[in-house]
Symmetry: none
Amino acid sequence: MRPPVIILNEPQLAENIGAAARVMANFGLSELRLVRPRDGWPQDRAWASASGANWPLDEARVFDRLEAAVADLTLVLATTARPRETQLPVWTPREAADVLHDAVGQDKAVGLLFGGERAGLETADIALCHGIVTVPVDERFRSLNLAQAVALNCYEWRMGVSDRPRAAFAHNIAERAPLEVQVGLYEQLEAELDKAGFFHPPEKRPSMVRNLRVALGRAAMTEQEVATFRGVITALSRGRGRVLEKLARKARELDGLKPEGGE
Amino acid sequence: MRPPVIILNEPQLAENIGAAARVMANFGLSELRLVRPRDGWPQDRAWASASGANWPLDEARVFDRLEAAVADLTLVLATTARPRETQLPVWTPREAADVLHDAVGQDKAVGLLFGGERAGLETADIALCHGIVTVPVDERFRSLNLAQAVALNCYEWRMGVSDRPRAAFAHNIAERAPLEVQVGLYEQLEAELDKAGFFHPPEKRPSMVRNLRVALGRAAMTEQEVATFRGVITALSRGRGRVLEKLARKARELDGLKPEGGE
């Protein structure tokens, strides 16, 4: 499978070219093409801002004309902040990723075209393409950074590749302690709370126990975590034990001095 | 509807703070919080790189501690490139956007937490959060720029604004306590465990604290439940009601009778 080629038309800042290369690498893309980069090519600042994602830059191809840069591609989508007066279909990056995956699945070479920082794409550039990709930006602030636009589209491509079903809580459930282990924790806690006089008045004990169990159950603890919390209960209760012991000792000690006729 | 707060923990480069503000504006977010920005705040370079998206920067709030920066939020998700050994649920930005929308739909204040450029988030920071967001980057090049990570998450939030499938997490969020309430519970528990000599050996205290916080955080307690568990901790460590009161009364009563030279 050959991911989309990224084509930057008249990019101005080497930093953005490097940032685009970096995010291409993040999402498994590697073919970069530059049409008339303003400050020439190569430029060190591009490599500096790629943070080690050198290969898209090392192998970048430079073109004088956009027509030449897209010549070998079968499907090219133009990304613009503002859909033009055109009869091309307009997609979000998510929809565009589907379109691109369909084409790649049929062994077509595909590309995503981005305009320069200042002016974006001209209508003549867009007319070479097969569809328009528009990021759904807020009307109040439409100016999207070039590398960010590349990022969002590469991300959507990648999301289409990985397509991993990932149940939200799968991770937790995988290692969740069996119920008998969990109940052991509940019962230890409740026994200690009985001793501490926590369940008051007694007729409310069942509903209080229920509430504690529901909250702790939602934590979906592993066996290791249950063991840790059992240790917590023991540690806290021993602390209480010490307080009580001290008081009891004192009481015993003083008990002998209790005056006649005392309580 | 109040979009997520973006929290940058120990950001290093003002350019990235500005780029984050710009992309927040692109996708309709505006609340930015900075925890210990490396080079201080404000910094002109942030405004320069925001390209006119000044309002998130103008109104950015700066904090010394992450705990303070998230205190008023009810749901905070930590974005990390690499899911840690933790028992928090792990989501893609898309899944995370669903979770955030559910919470916001129930009038909860929510946030997305990002670590600094070099080191990302520490495990202790993540332990304050309720879930982990991981961008599905290519294994061969995982280093995602900070502002790009902000961009992808803000984009997914925006994509979810109009058209959104229901997430499974709703019931937990419904009445979830704000983080400052939750942190109050953690700190009470940890103080009591300190007294009880639970954290042993001392060098393991940070990881033990983290594990306890993660497990309790997953329970997604309501304020009422937090209050109940604070009562549980008090009862376990000091006893409650008759048991202790009776002994204490007795001790006080007898205290006046303490003999000279007594203990």
